[in-house]
C-alpha cells in the first residue's frame, strides 16, 4: 500500500470505485462543507476537494479536506501548480499529510484569468507532470525535490492526476497519460465524458500502450441539469465535447433535470463495460444531492467496506 487510503484499498482490490466532488465555500462557512458532506457520505469512496477551481477564491483545499476528515469522509485533496511554487507545494504536503490526508490530485489548474483575481501573478513553477514527479520523490525516496535532503516523517499519498481525452491534439492524449504514468501517478480522473465514441477510442489507445494495467482510470461524469447548461458547456468550455444528440435529448425532455440524471446513469453503465475503466468520478457540481440517486440508480450501492 502506498498510502492505505480507502480509495486505494477499493481500487487495489479490483472493485469499481466511485468518487464525488465538493467545492469549498467562498469564505469560511463550515456549514456549507457539512451540508455537502452529508449529501455525499456513504455514496462514494472518496470526495475530491477542489483547489480554487476556475480560479475563484475559495477555502483552501487543505483546510476543507481536513474538515471533511473530521466529518468522517475521505478527501482527495486537489492541488494546482497555478498558485504555489515548489517551496509552498512541499510545505503544504507536509501539512496535508500531517492532518491525515492520504489522496491528492496533481493539477496545473484553471488559468487565473478565468477567476475573480485576474490581476494576480500566476506561478507555474512546476507543471502537473513535474508535480507528480515531485510527490512521488517525496513519498518513495523520502527526500525533497531535486535534493538529498531527508524528510522528517513519511509522506504517504495515493497520487492522482487528471486527463482530458477531449482536449487536442487527440493523438497525443494517450501519450500524455503515459508521461503521467512514467512520472508516478497511481490513479486518473478524466474530464467529464459525453462523447462516448471519442472516449472509447482514447481508451483503446490507452490499452494499446498497456497503461490500463499501470494506472487506475476513473471516468468522469457530470449530470446535465438543463438544456441551457448543455448548450453553454458545449459552446464555452474548451476541452468538453457534447454531441448534438445529447444536447437535443436534454433540450427536448419534458423534465430536463430528470433526463440528465437518467443519461448520467446510462453513461456510468456504459463506461463500466469499457476495458481499463476502474471507476467513475461523479462531478455533480452544486448538485451534490443527486449523487445518492445517481449511485443508487447505477447500481453502485452499497459502497464496499474494505480495511
Amino acid at each position: 500500500m502506498k498510502a492505505g487510503s480507502n480509495l486505494e484499498n477499493v481500487l487495489s482490490k479490483g472493485l469499481f470505485a466511485v468518487t464525488g466532488e465538493l467545492g469549498p465555500p467562498k469564505g469560511n462557512e463550515v456549514s456549507v462543507i457539512k451540508r455537502k458532506a452529508d449529501l455525499l457520505r456513504g455514496y462514494v469512496d472518496a470526495v475530491n476537494v477542489t483547489d480554487n477551481q476556475t480560479a475563484i477564491v475559495r477555502m483552501s483545499s487543505i483546510a476543507a479536506s481536513s474538515l471533511l476528515l473530521q466529518m468522517g469522509i475521505e478527501p482527495v485533496m486537489q492541488m494546482t501548480t497555478r498558485d504555489r511554487n515548489r517551496i509552498a507545494i512541499q510545505s503544504d504536503l507536509f501539512g496535508a499529510t500531517a492532518f491525515g490526508i492520504k489522496n491528492m490530485l496533481c493539477l496545473t489548474g484553471d488559468h487565473h484569468t478565468f477567476g475573480n483575481q485576474v490581476d494576480s501573478k500566476n506561478v507555474h513553477d512546476l507543471d502537473s507532470i513535474q508535480l507528480i514527479d515531485c510527490v512521488r520523490t517525496m513519498r518513495d525516496q523520502g527526500t525533497l525535490l531535486g535534493g538529498e535532503e531527508k524528510i522528517e516523517g513519511e509522506i504517504k499519498l495515493f497520487i492522482g492526476a487528471a486527463e482530458n481525452p477531449f482536449g487536442d491534439p487527440f493523438e497525443f492524449r494517450a501519450i500524455r497519460l503515459a508521461k503521467k504514468v512514467a512520472a508516478g501517478v497511481d490513479f486518473i480522473q478524466t474530464q467529464c465524458i459525453y462523447d462516448m465514441n471519442r472516449f472509447k477510442e482514447w481508451m483503446k489507445m490507452v490499452r494499446n500502450l498497456g497503461l490500463h494495467e499501470k494506472v487506475h482510470i476513473l471516468a468522469g461524469v457530470t449530470p446535465l441539469k438543463s438544456g441551457g447548461m448543455a448548450r453553454y458547456m458545449a459552446k464555452n468550455v474548451s476541452g468538453i465535447i457534447i454531441p448534438d444528440e445529447i444536447i437535443d435529448r436534454i433540450v427536448k425532455a419534458k423534465k430536463p433535470a430528470e433526463e440528465g440524471i437518467k443519461l448520467c446513469v446510462e453513461q456510468i453503465q456504459e463506461l463500466r463495460e469499457i476495458g481499463g475503466v476502474h471507476g467513475v468520478h461523479i462531478m455533480a457540481i452544486e448538485w451534490e444531492q443527486m449523487t445518492s440517486q445517481i449511485t443508487e440508480m447505477a447500481g453502485l450501492l452499497p459502497r464496499p467496506k474494505v480495511a
Partner: protein, 223 residues
C-alpha cells in the same frame, strides 16, 4: 526584437505637467521596427504634445532626437549637450533605453513614453507576437522551435493542458495553442518521440530572472 506600445497621451501629459522644455528621445533600433519609438513616432508625438499643451495654455518646447541605439552608453553620451538645455527627457525607447539615459543624466528626470511589452516577431504588417521570455535556458531544440515558456499561457513543459481545442488556446481564443504548434512541427519533422520525454522541473532560481539580476561577463571582450 523588443516590442513596445506608446503610452496614452493623457498619461504622458501628466508626467510632463511641471516642465516647459523637454527632450523627446526615440531609438533607431527595435522600437523603430515596431513603429512605437522611431524617428517618425518621435516627430508625431512631439507635435501631439505641443498641440495639447498649447490648448492647455501652457506651451511645451519639445526638442527631438533619435539616437541609433539608446541602450548603448556612447549613443546616450551624444545627447549630453541637448539634455543640458532641457528640464526633463521623455524617452520612447524600450525600458532599457530609458534606464541608460537615467543612468547617464543623474540630474535630469527621464520618463517612459512607451510600455515595453515583449520580445517578439512580426506576424504580419501591424501584428507582432511574443516569442521569447529570455528565460535563460533555451529548450527550443526539444520543442521543434516553438517556445512553450513564451507561448503557452501556463508555461507547460510536458504537453498541452485540457483546454487546447482545435488548435487554439482556451485563454485567448485568437491565440494558437503552443503545444499544438509543437506537436504539428515535431510530427512534420518525424520527431514526435520528443514529446514522450518528460522535461523535468526547471531551474528557474538559477537560470532565470528569479535568480536576481542577471549579468553576462565576457573576459575575452573586456578592455
Amino acid at each position: 526584437m523588443i516590442k513596445a506600445e506608446q503610452k496614452p497621451l493623457e498619461e504622458i501629459l501628466l508626467y510632463l505637467k511641471s516642465y516647459d522644455r523637454i527632450l523627446l528621445s526615440g531609438c533607431g533600433a527595435c522600437v523603430t521596427v515596431c513603429q512605437a519609438g522611431g524617428e517618425k513616432e518621435v516627430g508625431l508625438l512631439a507635435s501631439a504634445l505641443r498641440m495639447a499643451r498649447m490648448k492647455m495654455g501652457t506651451p511645451l518646447e519639445a526638442l527631438e532626437a533619435t539616437p541609433a541605439r539608446q541602450c548603448e552608453p556612447e549613443f546616450a553620451a551624444e545627447l549630453s549637450e541637448t539634455v543640458e538645455k532641457v528640464e526633463a527627457v521623455l524617452s520612447v525607447a524600450c525600458g532599457v533605453g530609458v534606464q541608460t539615459l537615467a543612468r547617464h543624466f543623474p540630474k535630469t528626470p527621464v520618463f517612459p513614453g512607451v510600455n515595453t511589452t515583449f520580445l517578439g516577431e512580426t506576424v504580419t504588417h501591424g501584428v507582432w507576437e511574443e516569442r521569447c521570455q529570455a528565460c535563460g535556458n533555451c529548450i527550443l531544440e526539444r520543442t521543434g522551435g516553438v517556445c512553450p515558456v513564451a507561448r503557452c499561457a501556463k508555461q507547460l513543459f510536458n504537453g498541452p493542458c485540457g483546454g487546447s481545442s482545435k488548435g487554439k488556446c482556451e485563454i485567448k481564443r485568437e491565440a494558437d495553442c503552443a503545444w499544438q504548434l509543437i506537436y504539428d512541427r515535431l510530427n512534420g519533422l518525424g520527431q514526435l518521440y520528443r514529446m514522450e520525454e518528460i522535461i523535468p522541473a526547471r531551474r528557474w532560481g538559477v537560470e532565470s530572472r528569479d535568480s536576481g539580476l542577471r549579468r553576462i561577463v565576457r573576459e575575452d571582450l573586456k578592455v
